[in-house]
Amino acid sequence: MPVSSDLIMSVVMKRRPRLHGYAWVVTGDPDLAEDVLQEVSLLALQKKGQINDETHLLGWLHESIRRQGLSARRAKMAQAMQLSSEVLAMLAEVQADQHNAGHAAQVKALRQCIELLGDKSRDTLALRYGKGMKPAQIAQQTDRPVRSVYQMITRAHTSLRQCVTKRLSSEGSTW
């Protein structure tokens, strides 16, 4: 029996960080990943008659994200080196298998961790994601080298990931 629109939207919303994250890995660009995720979500709604169940849906979403993502990446002519398709496939598998820790728990842990973040790192993330500025623009505005902006964003992300992981595990949960 094909999946319902309800189920599709529910899965897409609940697994948004996972799906968007996967699209990010594939495209190498969070904004492009957003486009891809939107397209694929809408495509899923259109193709729901061909999708059997939730497991099938997850596989279908990842495969679609990978295909669309790669073509979007090519269209953008992104030059940066990329992970192998083997790894992308393995990642999709891991993703589909994973049990979700629960969006609310993740967000709660994340907010607590953001509170701990240094001002400078937080402000940089706010510029990057809140205002959608590119690292180069942030660098210009804050009068810092671009590399330094990348470094700060990278470190902040790693710190937050480690912090959230700790918090989730202290509650007996995982991602």
């Binding site: 996972r18 968007h20 891991v94 973040l117 993330l125 700060m152 990278t154 790693t158 710190s159 912090c163």
Partner: protein, 616 residues
């Protein structure tokens, strides 16, 4: 190890990849790690979720704020919902997911009922809309750092009121009994003590059987035919003789007569000032300094390294003594009795090529330094019994590797003790140093000490130990820096405890001394897991010690570097850190945490060894 694919995965590589700033060769390593190691794949799965969430969170926050400012955003949102609805209608009816916001088809949303969380929940669909609102103001919660101010113990020498006697302070040097203020002016028996020798051979009856620690009496005439010898007067003046020398101890407590040969005189303490060296050609009085005297047939030369001395022609049958002529640091004068005058001659640092071990050499040995680079003793003989650091002590650059351009060992161009040689480093060079491995596996600690003279006070790495030279991803970093605020900084970062630098992963001790360019500082950093991270400048603790709660320190002392590793290194704030450029001297590394008292001793010894004056 040259194969890039064998580079260990840095925890930050995953995020760096997603941000598009991972160097290509590390992308290959990451790819391999992901294929080989399920745990790494799991980490990537977590990281991409986390990053997506973070992005969503910040964007959601911004949109939430924007929503309360601007109607157009909501228009966008509602338009998007409409679009979804239309598309869905073209396929089949759509039901939006259950969430705290449950928009109906075609429904308009009241901005006042939205929370940031709702934006997060629905965020994916409106990210692409350009925001023109005010920047998100993220409230920062300041964290209160509990600063523990530890006052360095003021070590009061119970004997000398001013400066502690360096030799008396030397724990190894117990034999010679140096008279102290308890016995301020022994005018009868002891005038001086033989405090050190190196390959010394004596001539003449008075010198027979002399040994270190022996007392020397007035009228004693010593003939040193080979090697070196050091005596310390009862007032603490030190005279180091290089054979051939003939010297006589005079009948008062702070004077000698140099009949032939040369000596280096050091008067560091208040009590020792006024040390007199008589020669056939001149009387030389030390006013607190380091100087050399060399007696030739017809003249006596005096070179002054630091401080001042006065020189005068001695009284003769023909005339009374001459007027005192002052000689300042970096100057030299010759007293020529026949000509009956004192004239200036060219100052030479060669006169001071010290072969005797310094107090610092002895202390380095006594405190069991794991590595010690005085830089100026490479070719010099080693004083008997004064150090047994061979094997442990790295005495020359052959024990380390000078990397890059422009660095090397040079004569100290700033002349405090011109015989001193120092390590010059440019921002293109550094020294990679080996040292013996950590001895006590259970106790992970270090002390690193060095004289430093910076070309410019810029944010820079001075002594570095890090997992990666070229940034931006670093697993651990231990270093002495100058911070962007122009103070010394002892910086410790490790991702071992699972926290990145932004979440308490860093331990920073900032000094209070404003660093000046072209000024010598003796800087010491100490750290011990479970104890404290500390910073000392010129013998005193310079900033609040920080507790090291989690294991932070990398084992082993062999990865320390003199100088910054690379111009590309960034600090935790992402600011570029320049490599050290300037001079270094007397670098010591210990595999334990030295105490405040030991560091003070080290500082005094280093000051005496180098003759450097420091800013107060």
């Amino acid at each position: 190890m040259s194969d890039h694919s064998e580079q260990p995965l840095d925890p930050q590589d995953i995020e760096a990849y997603l941000l598009g700033c991972l160097p290509e060769e590390r992308v290959a390593s990451l790819d391999k790690a992901l294929r080989d190691d399920a745990a790494v794949l799991q980490q990537l799965a977590q990281a991409m979720q986390a990053m997506s969430l973070v992005r969503q969170e910040f964007a959601g926050q911004a949109q939430y704020e924007a929503a309360h400012q601007q109607e157009p955003l909501l228009e966008d949102f509602n338009t998007l919902l409409q679009e979804l609805s239309d598309r869905e209608a073209a396929a089949k009816p759509i039901a939006l997911p259950a969430s705290s916001v449950e928009p109906q088809h075609g429904a308009r949303i009241d901005p006042d009922k939205l929370t940031p969380h709702d934006f997060v929940a629905l965020g994916g669909y409106i990210f692409r809309k350009t925001l023109t609102s005010k920047p998100a103001i993220i409230t920062s919660i300041g964290t209160l750092a509990a600063a523990v101010l530890l006052f360095a113990l003021i070590v009061i020498n119970p004997f000398a009121s001013n400066t502690p006697d360096p030799i008396a302070n030397n724990p190894r040097n117990t034999t010679p009994s140096i008279p102290t203020i308890d016995d301020p002016a022994p005018t009868t028996n002891t005038v001086a003590t033989l405090t050190a020798t190196h390959n010394a051979q004596w001539g003449g009856p008075a010198s027979a059987g002399l040994g270190i620690g022996d007392t020397l009496y007035p009228g004693t005439r010593l003939t040193l035919t080979a090697g070196f010898a050091e005596i310390t007067t009862s007032r603490g003046a030190v005279a180091i003789f290089e054979a051939p020398v003939e010297v006589e101890l005079l009948d008062h407590d702070n004077a000698i007569r140099l009949h032939a040969g040369k000596l280096v005189g050091i008067c560091e303490t208040e009590l020792s000032k006024g040390f007199v060296v008589e020669t056939d050609h001149a009387d030389i009085t030390d006013l607190g300094t380091e100087f050399s005297v060399e007696v030739a047939d017809r003249h006596t030369d005096v070179h002054v390294l630091t401080g001042q001395v006065t020189m005068s022609l001695p009284a003769t049958q023909d005339r009374s003594g001459g007027e005192d002529v002052r000689i300042d640091a970096g100057q030299a004068k010759r007293a020529d009795r026949q000509a009956g005058k004192i004239r200036a001659i060219a100052f030479s640092s060669e006169a001071f090529r010290r072969a005797m071990p310094t107090e610092l050499d002895r202390l380095a040995n006594a405190l069991n330094a794991a590595a010690y680079w005085p830089f100026d003793h490479d070719q010099a003989p080693i004083l008997q019994g004064a150090r047994a650091l061979q094997g442990a002590r790295a005495s020359s650059l052959s024990d380390g590797t000078l990397v890059g351009q422009g660095g090397g060992i040079v004569a100290d161009p700033f002349g405090s003790v011109p015989s001193n040689r120092v390590l010059k480093l440019t921002d293109q060079s550094y020294v990679a140093i080996p040292a013996k491995p950590q001895q006590d596996e259970d106790k992970v600690a270090y002390t690193v000490a060095a004289w430093l003279r910076l070309d410019g006070v810029e944010h820079q790495n001075i002594l570095t130990k890090t997992s990666m030279d070229e940034g931006p991803m670093v697993k651990f970093s231990q270093n002495l820096r100058v911070s962007d605020r122009g103070v010394f900084r002892h910086y410790l970062f490790s991702s071992n405890d699972g926290y990145g630098p932004d979440l308490g992963g860093e331990i920073i001790v900032d000094g209070k001394t404003q660093v000046r360019p072209d000024t010598w500082y003796f800087v010491v950093i100490t750290a011990s897991d479970g104890h404290f991270s500390r910073l000392y400048v010129n013998g005193q603790e310079d900033g609040p010690a920080q507790r090291i709660r989690q294991p932070k320190i990398e084992r082993g002392l062999d990865a320390w570097r003199l100088g910054g590793p690379s111009a590309r290194l960034l600090d935790a704030e992402g600011e570029p850190v320049k490599p050290f450029s300037g001079l270094m001297d007397d670098v010591l590394i210990f595999d334990r945490e030295l105490s405040a008292k030991e560091i003070q001793d080290l500082y005094h010894a280093a000051k005496i060894a180098s003759g450097r004056s420091v800013p107060h």
